[in-house]
């Protein structure tokens, strides 16, 4: 069905600037560069993790890919049914609706992502209903099959319940079912397990991976937790203030981090084992909103390696250091 050499999703030069201040009939003077010139590809059936601290632009990226936001600049190319790449970055109207069948999203908060006044059936069947796919009994069957597949058995005992009668883990399973109901080829998962308890979280993560493999769905997994990204993804991109600063296959990135920010990030992750003492790489300062950032490297102010080169030259481009290990730094 898909041609193996072309990626499922290709993002190039993707930018999203949010105006700060301004208002009705008044032009804003400043812009938050929430996502600034992203370039990456996800192969068919592949998975990529987007990791970073809050405010780094990872959620904005996810929302751009599902076109909840319109990009300021750049292209989002995704395979259509025939396997050709089409640019959906500025798409509107009826052709948008067809795109909506191919890309879906799973949200972070299972308590907010399900309408409290709609039954589980209504929620899961919603994409089918608004897309006009199938008749009512077909929809009901599809929903029932999926609910059983995500572990809510028997489906009939869940279909006509309301979200508040279910636990967080069950709700997130419903969100997964809703995302999969239209047979998408790509899913953006925005921290889908960060609000779940440990013993439930694992089940949801395993389920996501199983289903993605089974239904040949690629996904972008947005998380702040490197350990979760390691478990879920083939490649990881580390974001810092709207830029991907390092991107590599998962194990490579965790074991040979090259960008100073990635190193600091990895060294700060607590290890669930008191016998292991980790070495600490501290970086100064804290993260701040990228409002009209200076042209030099975004990490310049906090970087332990920074010198004049970093100050005088523009933000370093992502360069391949071999094995698909991309780093945006002049100093490595």
């Amino acid at each position: 069905m898909t041609t193996t050499n072309s990626p499922l999703l290709k993002v190039s030069g993707l930018k999203k600037y949010f105006p700060v201040g301004g208002g009705f009939l008044r032009k804003p003077h400043n812009f938050i560069h929430a996502v600034d010139d992203l370039n990456f590809e996800i192969p068919s059936g592949g998975s990529m993790g987007l990791v970073g601290e809050s405010g780094c632009g990872k959620t904005t990226t996810g929302k751009l890919l599902v076109r909840l936001y319109e990009p300021t600049d750049g292209h989002i190319l995704i395979q259509d049914e025939q396997g050709n790449l089409e640019d959906i970055a500025y798409r509107k109207g009826a052709s948008m609706k067809a795109f909506r069948r191919r890309v879906q999203m799973i949200f972070q908060d299972p308590y907010e992502s399900l309408n409290p006044r709609r039954t589980i059936y209504d929620t899961v069947a919603e994409p089918l209903a608004v897309q006009g796919i199938g008749n009512i009994s077909e929809r009901e069957e599809r929903v029932a099959t999926l609910l059983e597949r995500v572990g809510l058995t028997p489906a009939t005992s869940f279909m006509f319940r309301f979200p508040h009668e279910l636990s967080g883990g069950q709700r997130q399973r419903i969100a997964i079912a809703r995302a999969l109901v239209v047979n998408p080829s790509f899913i953006v998962a925005d921290e889908p397990t960060s609000m779940l308890d440990v013993s439930i979280r694992t089940g949801v993560m395993n389920l996501m991976m199983e289903l993605a493999a089974e239904m040949n769905v690629s996904y972008l997994y947005i998380t702040h937790d490197l350990a979760v990204a390691r478990y879920m993804c083939d490649t990881i991109g580390v974001m810092y203030l709207g830029k991907i600063v390092e991107q590599a296959p998962t194990e490579e990135l965790l074991h040979q981090p090259q960008h100073p920010y990635t190193r600091a990030l990895i060294s700060a992750v607590p290890i669930p084992d008191p016998r292991i003492k980790r070495q600490v790489i501290d970086i100064k300062g804290g993260i701040s909103a990228p409002i009209d950032p200076p042209p030099h490297c975004r990490f310049y102010a906090r970087c332990p390696l920074a010198d004049e080169t970093c100050r005088d030259r523009p933000h370093p481009p992502l360069q391949d250091k071999g094995n698909g290990h991309l780093v945006a730094c002049y100093k490595v």
């Binding site: 909506r100 879906q104 999203m105 907010e112 009901e140 005992s157």
Partner: protein, 330 residues
């Protein structure tokens, strides 16, 4: 729920029945919370009491009450010579019939009509007025609030400034002017009041609620599902606003009934009988200055206005607890 496990073939009917059952269930949980609130129950009892009065009136007219004597508008009791009595500076005839008696439980009005019958007859139109105005308000406020919150921008600015203007206008004064310019019947009052209230304060409250719903991720999920603006507004925003709208409906009823009383008192409504008109009749015949003696000309109507207004307000307050889980006791 187990019995529906094998009815996939008859899906449409089972869906339908399920929905009805769910609705009943949610009504029941709402009722369980409501009935624990004494304030709300008092309000509800009062409303039921007045509803019974309204229902009872045509029955009484058809059975025990002779229309010639008891009709609220054209009735006249020939057994009472002067109704109810001449003003105090005139000689007082010794006729007990005008006062409350077994024959006329709340006495008769200055035109010789039975007060109880008038009171009961008016109840129906007060209900219709209140509920009619409330429906108009809720319809407007919910739609405008949802649309305004969802689209934001120019539409929002337009509606919100309009709401500001509505809030600045003195309600009663506007109604007095309007009803003196046009022939106002109850239905007109209901619509005008509904519009004034609907575009005014209620919209602002509902819009602010809509704003908190708009940012929930299920709205985003609906958009990703492919839902258009109309779908999102009417299947996601509005259903979540309805409980609040319903609550404000209760408060609108109170306002509408009250404004009717004021307008009727000034004789500005083109209606044949209402609680406000009953007071106006007493006032026009000069009995308002002596209400201790002729209490039955004033108090039944006045008390009914107060009670029914209060009742809807109390029910609204109690419903607030059903609608806002945060106000609930554990």
């Amino acid at each position: 729920m187990n019995n529906t496990a094998h009815t996939t073939s008859s899906a449409p009917t089972s869906l339908w029945k399920m929905r009805l059952r769910l609705m009943r269930k949610s009504l029941k949980t709402g009722w369980d919370i409501f009935k624990e609130n004494p304030v709300g129950m008092v309000g509800l009892v009062i409303i039921v009491f007045f509803a019974l009065l309204a229902i009872l009136h045509p029955i009484l007219m058809a059975t025990v009450w002779d229309p010639g004597t008891y009709d609220p508008i054209t009735g006249y009791d020939f057994k009472t010579l002067i109704h109810p009595s001449p003003p105090s500076w005139l000689p007082q005839p010794d006729n007990p019939m005008y006062k409350p008696s077994f024959r006329h439980i709340l006495g008769t009005d200055p035109l010789g009509r039975d007060v109880l019958s008038q009171l009961m007859y008016s109840t129906r139109s007060e209900f219709l007025l209140g509920v009619g105005a409330a429906l108009v308000t809720v319809l407007i406020a919910t739609t405008v609030g949802a649309v305004s919150a969802y689209y934001g921008g120019l539409i929002d600015i337009l509606f919100m400034r309009m709401a500001d203007v509505m809030m600045m206008l003195p309600f009663i004064a506007i109604l007095i002017v309007l009803s003196s310019l046009f022939q106002f019947k109850m239905i007109h009052l209901a619509i005008v009041y509904g519009i004034l209230a609907g575009f005014g304060g209620t919209t602002i409250v509902i819009k602010s609620q809509a704003l908190t719903i708009k940012v929930k991720s299920y709205i985003e999920a609906a958009r990703i599902a492919g839902g258009g603006d109309g779908h999102i507004i009417f299947t996601h925003l509005v259903p979540n606003l309805l409980p609040l709208s319903f609550l404000y409906m209760m408060f609108t009823v109170t306002g509408a009934i009250f404004s009717e009383a004021v307008l009727s008192f000034f004789g500005l409504l083109d209606i044949r009988m209402s609680w406000g008109l009953m007071i106006q009749t007493a006032q026009a015949a000069g009995y308002l200055l002596n209400s201790w003696k002729y209490w039955y000309l004033m108090f039944p109507a006045g008390l009914s206005i107060t009670l029914l207004c209060a009742a809807f307000y109390l029910v609204g307050r109690a419903m607030d607890e059903v609608v806002n889980p945060r106000l609930r006791k554990r």
